[in-house]
């Protein structure tokens, strides 16, 4: 498989568009998820209230992010959770590697964590002879295939039952091909059971980290997150710094907004709250709990009032499920860990605008993402802002963004200046449209990129201004 990269967005998107299976798998999945979400928010008044509350919580918590992180560290430490800070993916990997090596770990059982994808943890540990095994069913399937997640909450959504059966046939002993979902899941669970028992270290993400109490919350449906955070001797939780919330009472509105937006569930099957390692007299739980807090460009997003809104994200995936672009090209085409609309606004902070600068243009700005975002992130407005940042150097009044101006294009800038000049000089503008009309008979039927599926638009013989003049109305 060729290396996926946001720089190869266009060929990757073309490849996906050319696959009827991918198109069909995504359309079906998106239809299902959209319906589930809309059923979960069937009462618009109640929905507005839930979403307004969730947005307010995220805004308030982010506005005091540095202080909350300090409190979180204090409380966690007081509870016996060891806190580690990582500025870069390399630092996060080094911390996790050191912990695994100290345990002499051969196997890490991993619950779902997008941050671990962000830092490339599996590959890093594999290079050291440590097997990092995904235990979320979707991630498990994707890992067996040597593939990567295509959606942040449903990693294997690009695959249908037949494809999953083929994967299991290839990798699981004694598995017989089936299209029965229950049998597929049972086979996967059987294979995973053994991993939980054998793993020396369990690794998970974090959905919400509560500063007030030093509690790490984990939202999941399969029970694998609970296994990873209770069975192995050491539990490592890794998360971005933006996931901190102020108090326990902030959780309920965020949890409700998250599960309803993501899968249409009122609540998930499991909700785990990790407040400390195993205490004396307790029967289960890890003996050590570590929290790794990753920055990786987040403090850059935080520094700008407008772009800070990116960090409100609670990773529900609703923006992807409603995005007409994501729904047609799927998650892999983006070449980023976070695909879809949220990926287009967060990736520039993680990777820089030089690598990810084309992504903000890959949107028709239809606004569906902003409409469904449960925490009110104005995604279209942020896309527009990032387009400005990608085209121009450091702008006054804004902190610099990594790779600012990387997509500057002199020809395009000149064309825009020309457009603006014409639009401000109506006589010249009208002369231009006059010329466009005169030349219309000579237009080719198919015009460049536009003409691959559309005929060239034909100007009317006379413009409105002329018709009005003829009617003596102006």
């Amino acid at each position: 498989m060729a290396e996926h990269s946001p720089r190869r967005f266009t060929p990757q998107a073309q490849e996906a568009l050319a696959s009827p299976v991918i198109r069909q798998n995504f359309r079906g999945a998106m239809d299902y998820l959209r319906k589930a979400r809309s059923n979960a928010f069937s009462d618009p008044v109640e929905a507005d209230a839930v979403l307004a509350k969730a947005e307010a919580v995220r805004r308030r918590c982010l506005s005091q992010l540095p202080a909350l992180l300090e409190t979180l560290e204090q409380r966690c430490t007081a509870n016996g959770i060891q806190v580690h800070w990582a500025e870069t993916p390399a630092e996060a990997n080094a911390i996790i590697r050191a912990l695994c090596q100290r345990e002499d770990a051969k196997l890490v059982a991993k619950g779902k964590s997008m941050v671990s994808e962000e830092i490339g943890l599996n590959k890093h540990l594999a290079g050291l002879g440590i097997d990092c095994r995904e235990t979320d069913m979707g991630e498990f399937i994707v890992q067996l295939d040597g593939d990567r997640p295509s959606h942040i909450i449903m990693p294997a959504i690009h695959k249908n039952k037949d494809e999953i059966s083929a994967t299991f046939e290839q990798h699981l002993p004694d598995f017989e091909a089936t299209r029965d979902v229950d049998q597929l899941i049972a086979a996967g669970r059987q294979a995973l059971r053994e991993k939980f028992q054998a793993a020396e270290v369990g690794l998970t993400g974090v959905n919400f980290a509560v500063a007030e109490t030093g509690t790490l919350c984990l939202v999941e449906n399969e029970g694998n997150g609970r296994m990873c955070s209770t069975i192995p001797r050491v539990h490592i939780a890794v998360t971005g710094i933006e996931k901190v919330v102020e108090q326990l009472s902030d959780i309920a509105p965020l949890y409700s907004a998250l599960t309803r937006s993501a899968t249409g569930q009122a609540i998930t099957t499991y909700f785990n709250m990790v407040s400390s390692p195993r205490r004396p007299g307790e029967w289960d739980g890890p003996e050590e709990v570590h929290l790794v807090l990753l920055d990786n460009g987040r403090s850059q997003a935080f520094a700008d009032d407008e772009l800070r809104q990116t960090l409100q994200c609670i990773r529900c995936g609703a923006c992807m499920n409603h995005c007409p672009v994501y729904g047609r090209i799927g998650g892999h085409a983006y070449g980023t860990v976070y695909p879809g609309p949220i990926g287009k606004i967060i990736s520039p902070h993680l990777l820089g605008l030089d690598d990810a600068g084309e992504l903000p243009t890959a949107s028709s700005l239809c606004g569906a993402c902003g409409e469904v975002c449960p925490v009110g992130i104005p995604i279209p407005a942020l896309l527009q802002r990032l387009r400005v940042e990608a085209k121009h150097g450091a702008s006054a009044g804004h902190p610099p963004l990594k790779g600012q101006g990387a997509k500057a294009n002199r020809l395009e800038a000149l064309a825009m200046k020309g457009f603006a000049w014409l639009a401000r000089h109506p006589r010249c503008y009208r002369a231009g449209t006059w010329l466009a009309r005169r030349l219309a008979p000579f237009y080719p039927r198919r015009l460049g990129a536009w003409g691959q599926c559309r005929v060239t638009p034909k100007p009317a013989p006379k413009p409105l201004s002329q018709l009005l003049k003829e009617q003596r109305r102006v």
Binding site: T10, A13, Q14, L17, P324, V325, R328, I329, T361, A362, S363, S364, L365, C366, G367, A368, G370, E371, P378, A381, Q384, R387, V388, E389, A390, K391, H392, A413, M416, K417, F419, A420, L422, A423, R424, P426, Y429, T433, A436, R437, G448, A449, W450, Q452, C453, R454, V455, T456, P457, K458, P459, A460, K462, P463, L464, S465, L467, L468, Q471, R473
Partner: protein
């Protein structure tokens, strides 16, 4: 953006901002819109000198250029009359995004308050009552995304069609989904745009409605171009033209 808008009383005089696409591709829609507004008893002024709202520069990330264009357009409307815009996306640009381009500028904010999309204006300000004089007809409607999500015009456009006794509004599949135009998006990412417009036209054709209307010429440029390329006879037209024809004021 979801602030509830307080609408003014019906004025005696309005400006019509026809938009560059109507001017160039469908000037009749501009005349028809004037006809409808005049039937509401309004004096309509179309300012010579209007060009484009600046959206192409804005959406491509050229805010300085967009600001320069915006300033030149706002200067065309010195009287305190409402500015009625014949497109949801240009309306969205002038009502919402000008405010963003000139953050904190009270004069610009006051101008933005005067901007109304055409169907929004007919329903919310004029309280227009349309008397259908046409034959029974089925029609399907495309609402542009900016119109739908910024100006909430899908509501008012449907309300106007709903007033027509003999017209049946037929829904098509994925009505709320983008047609794939998005201005420069269609040129920058032509394959993705193609996938979107081909799905959109298929759903429109599958609706079986013999007529397609939209209150946005940007989308129509995209959809009509694709329909014609596919050899379909169906061509969308501006809602203003359809409405005027229904109330018996159409051009022969």
């Amino acid at each position: 953006m979801d602030v509830i808008r307080v609408y003014p009383a019906k004025p005696a005089h309005v400006y019509l901002y026809a938009t560059c696409l109507v001017d160039l591709f469908d000037p009749q829609a501009g005349l028809d819109a004037i006809g409808l507004l005049e039937r509401q008893g309004l004096a309509v002024t179309v300012v010579t000198g209007q060009t484009c709202c600046g959206q192409p520069a804005y959406s491509a990330g050229y805010n300085d250029e967009a600001r320069a264009v915006a300033q030149s357009q706002m200067a065309l409307f010195p009287e305190p009359w409402p500015v009625v815009v014949l497109s949801g996306s240009c309306g969205g640009m002038m009502h919402h995004h000008y405010r963003r381009l000139f953050a904190g500028d009270a004069a610009v904010a006051a101008f933005c308050e005067r901007v109304f999309e055409f169907t929004e204006f007919l329903v919310q300000v004029c309280r227009a009552k349309l008397d259908d004089k046409g034959e029974p007809r089925q029609v399907t409607m495309h609402t542009s995304c900016a119109a739908r999500r910024e100006m909430k015009v899908h509501v008012t456009a449907s309300q106007l069609l709903g007033q027509l006794a003999q017209v049946e509004l037929v829904k098509h599949g994925y009505q709320e989904e983008c047609c794939g135009f998005g201005g420069t998006f269609a040129v920058r990412h032509p394959q993705i745009s193609q996938a979107m417009v081909e799905d959109k036209t298929r759903h429109i054709v599958n609706s079986g409605a013999p007529e397609l209307v939209s209150a946005d010429w940007g989308c129509l440029l995209n959809i009509n171009g694709a329909l014609e390329y596919q050899g379909e006879r169906l061509q969308g037209r501006h809602l203003a033209s359809f409405l005027l024809e229904r109330v018996g004021g159409g051009h022969g």
